[in-house]
């Protein structure tokens, strides 16, 4: 009986290790870039993402993969991508393993702003450049790439004030309560509205950064509201427009996120055409973080965190194919690329949808001078 037991144990162990060994040739797969001609000293930079359950995260990873397959990165950097789900211990195991692999840089969108401090510090201690973006890591030794969410609120609110010439009734559709970005955006907006006494906020409610939720909440609020002149939306803007349209209300001025659906209304691709401004948290933050990591490792960029300006468009400045995409779904974030002469980075549609490189293009990241 004893023999049998250990026999079985051995067989199980063997079977699993063989299975694993057969799987292991794939271990080079995530890092597989066109090799051969490449010089020996390619930098290894890994993206460690937390969860991959929404449109924004998918676009964020796609543009990262696209950038890795385009010059200058295709010749200089060997990229890999890991997702951890919203589990801090999985993500910290992955970062530990990246340390063991001896990567040169790690680009992180964190499951918790505080939960990765320990392991990020360990990476820094071993001379690895850690750049976190979007949901950044607190650890002092890591660099960050992000936008200024207070400015998001301010800029959109200021647009409404200017359009309404300082007089009018405004509603605020906020995001997911208890998150840093929601707090900051609301704070920025309220500062601007408070400084303009002619502006009256007639309703404030949450749209949960979701178009369907924002539409339902707005439909519920509208019957009790007077004529609305301006709408400030933290996310789910196309849903709010649909609710106004369904209630046969006159279209107010909209200041909202970067949903492709919202921009379709702004461009008149969807009816009714609305006047508005669209700003978003850009998915290309991952590419900026990649560039910062590359630049710092190669000593081409000072070891400093970066705050980038938001990609902004108004109804007048929209260009189909560049800032609004008629053949992409409404839920797509149209700010996967910046636009204009001072653009932070310009990416193409297939980069965001499939993660494939933009043909014949060299990526040029402009950190700006602010």
């Amino acid at each position: 009986m004893n023999l049998h037991r250990y026999g079985r144990l051995l067989v199980a162990a063997l079977a699993l290790s063989i299975a694993a060994a057969c799987g292991s040739p794939a271990s080079e797969a995530p890092a597989a870039q066109p090799s051969g001609s490449a010089p020996a000293a390619k930098l290894k930079i890994a993206l460690s993402n937390s969860f991959i359950g929404n449109q924004w995260r998918v676009e964020m990873e796609n543009v990262f993969k696209a950038a890795c397959a385009m010059p200058p990165y295709v010749d200089q950097v060997e990229c890999s991508v890991y997702n951890a789900g919203n589990d801090v211990s999985t993500q910290s195991r992955q970062i530990s393993n990246l340390i063991s692999q001896g990567v040169d840089g790690i680009v992180v969108n964190a499951a918790s702003t505080s939960g990765l401090n320990g392991v990020v510090q360990q990476a820094c201690d071993r001379g690895i450049v850690v750049v976190s973006f979007d949901n950044t890591v607190d650890a002092a030794c890591g660099l960050t790439v992000n936008t200024d969410q207070v400015k998001f609120g301010q800029q959109l609110a200021q647009f409404l004030v200017d359009q309404l010439k300082g007089q009018g009734k405004v509603i605020m559709v906020t995001g997911v309560a208890g998150t840093g970005a929601d707090n900051d955006r609301n704070k920025g907006a309220k500062e601007v509205f408070a400084a303009n006494p002619g502006i009256e906020i007639v309703a404030t409610y949450s749209g949960m950064w979701d178009s369907a939720t924002a539409q339902r909440a707005t439909s519920g609020q509208l019957p009790g509201l007077p004529k609305v002149d301006g709408v400030w939306v933290s996310g789910g803007t196309d849903g709010v427009i649909k609710a106004f349209s369904a209630a046969k209300r006159p279209m107010p001025v909209f200041a909202g996120e970067a949903e492709n659906g919202f921009r379709k209304y702004m461009a008149g691709i969807l009816e009714p055409k609305v006047n508005g401004m669209s700003i978003g948290q850009p998915p290309f933050l991952s590419v900026i973080a990649l560039e910062l990591a590359r630049g710092v490792i190669k000593n081409e960029h000072p070891k400093e965190s970066v705050t980038i300006p938001f990609p902004v468009v108004t109804s007048d400045s929209l260009v189909p194919g560049e800032t609004v995409f008629p053949d992409l779904p409404d839920s797509f974030f149209a700010d996967f690329t910046d636009s204009g002469p001072n653009a932070t980075v310009i990416l193409c549609q297939q980069g965001a949808t499939d993660g494939t490189p933009c043909p014949g293009k060299t990526l040029d990241v402009n950190f700006g001078t602010r």
Binding site: L9, L16, R93, N97, S100, T113, Q122
Partner: protein, 312 residues
């Protein structure tokens, strides 16, 4: 055989880890790898021990997620100072964890409400309290606590792992330990022979709360900060550890050691998938497959043993 499921799976996972690691990097894992695995897995090990105790009585504890969150929030907020003071505060956190567990125990045993309902409700309450204590991730832990609990350079974690395992080995031989099995096997008979089932359950849930408190302290010690949502992943992973560890959900069969083995195996699976280069999109698929295969292995083993017995 089923009792040994956890160890079989653990040995297989360790073997797979060593093979995948060395074929990927061309060398064996270093002390850094072992140490970081040890420190990351400790919180789950503690929660799994607590969960296995509850499952041994035929119950289930979903509130471990809430208790870990609450204790993480409190630890990151109040454990300060230097010298011995922080350790006093750690004790306060452990008492808090045990008290939260005891609340579950009272509702389950005195209120006679199904454990799954009770702990689902208290899960929300404890998570809510955690958000109230620490609305934004943050807080800190004194370096002295970190050095003693989960030192990033010396495997102090091994001592605590040893203490936990030793604690279980002693506990199962005490009268309370026997009663846990008795209540789990057949509560009615246990009552009939004079086992105070209500008190045993109260004790088991309180112990589970204590384990969650311990997990929280180690979590903050490893990550150096708190997050009110830290506990959520532990609910399912602790139950999975118990399952892989071969503890029967009908109660009365299995051991906390199995759950420890299950917890270690589940932590290692993440590393196996990492070094095997599995596409990140399919990682949760493979984690799920691992669970199914592990459990099937147990069922098949039980069937085989039963048939062999029938033949002889």
């Amino acid at each position: 055989m089923r009792d040994r499921l956890g160890y079989v799976v653990l040995v297989a996972t360790i073997a797979a880890y060593l093979v995948v690691y060395s074929s990927s990097l061309g060398r064996l894992p270093t002390s850094f790898d072992y140490l970081s695995i040890l420190n990351t897995m400790l919180p789950l090990v503690f929660v799994a021990i607590g969960q296995s105790l509850v499952v041994l009585t035929g119950g289930i504890d979903l509130s471990v997620g809430g208790i870990v969150s609450l204790c993480v929030a409190v630890t990151a907020t109040i454990v300060t100072g230097d010298g011995l003071a922080p350790f006093g505060w750690v004790l306060v956190v452990l008492v808090l964890g045990a008290a939260c567990g005891a609340v579950n125990g009272v509702i389950v045993s005195a209120g006679r409400i199904a454990p799954i309902l009770t702990t689902l409700a208290t899960l929300s309450i404890f998570t809510g309290l955690a958000l109230w204590v620490l609305p934004v991730p943050g807080g800190s832990i004194p370096p002295v606590v970190r050095n003693v609990l989960s030192n990033p350079n010396v495997p102090t974690g091994l001592i605590w792992l040893g203490v936990a395992i030793g604690g279980w080995l002693v506990l199962r031989r005490t009268r309370f330990g026997m009663r846990v099995y008795a209540v789990g096997s057949d509560e009615t008979s246990a009552r009939a022979v004079g086992v105070p089932a209500a008190r045993v359950k109260l004790g088991v849930y309180a112990l589970s709360g204590l384990c969650s408190g311990l997990a929280a302290v180690f979590y903050v010690s490893t990550t150096t900060a708190g997050d009110a949502n830290a506990g959520a992943p532990f609910i399912l992973t602790s139950i999975a550890s118990v399952v892989v560890g071969g503890v029967a959900f009908s109660g009365g069969r299995g051991s906390a050691l199995g759950a420890v083995a299950g917890a270690v195996a589940l932590t290692l699976v993440i590393d196996v998938l990492f070094f095997a280069g599995i596409d990140p999109l399919y990682q949760s698929l493979f984690q799920g497959l691992f669970l199914v295969v592990a459990v099937l292995l147990g069922t098949v083993a039980t069937l085989v043993t039963r048939r062999r017995r029938a033949v002889t």
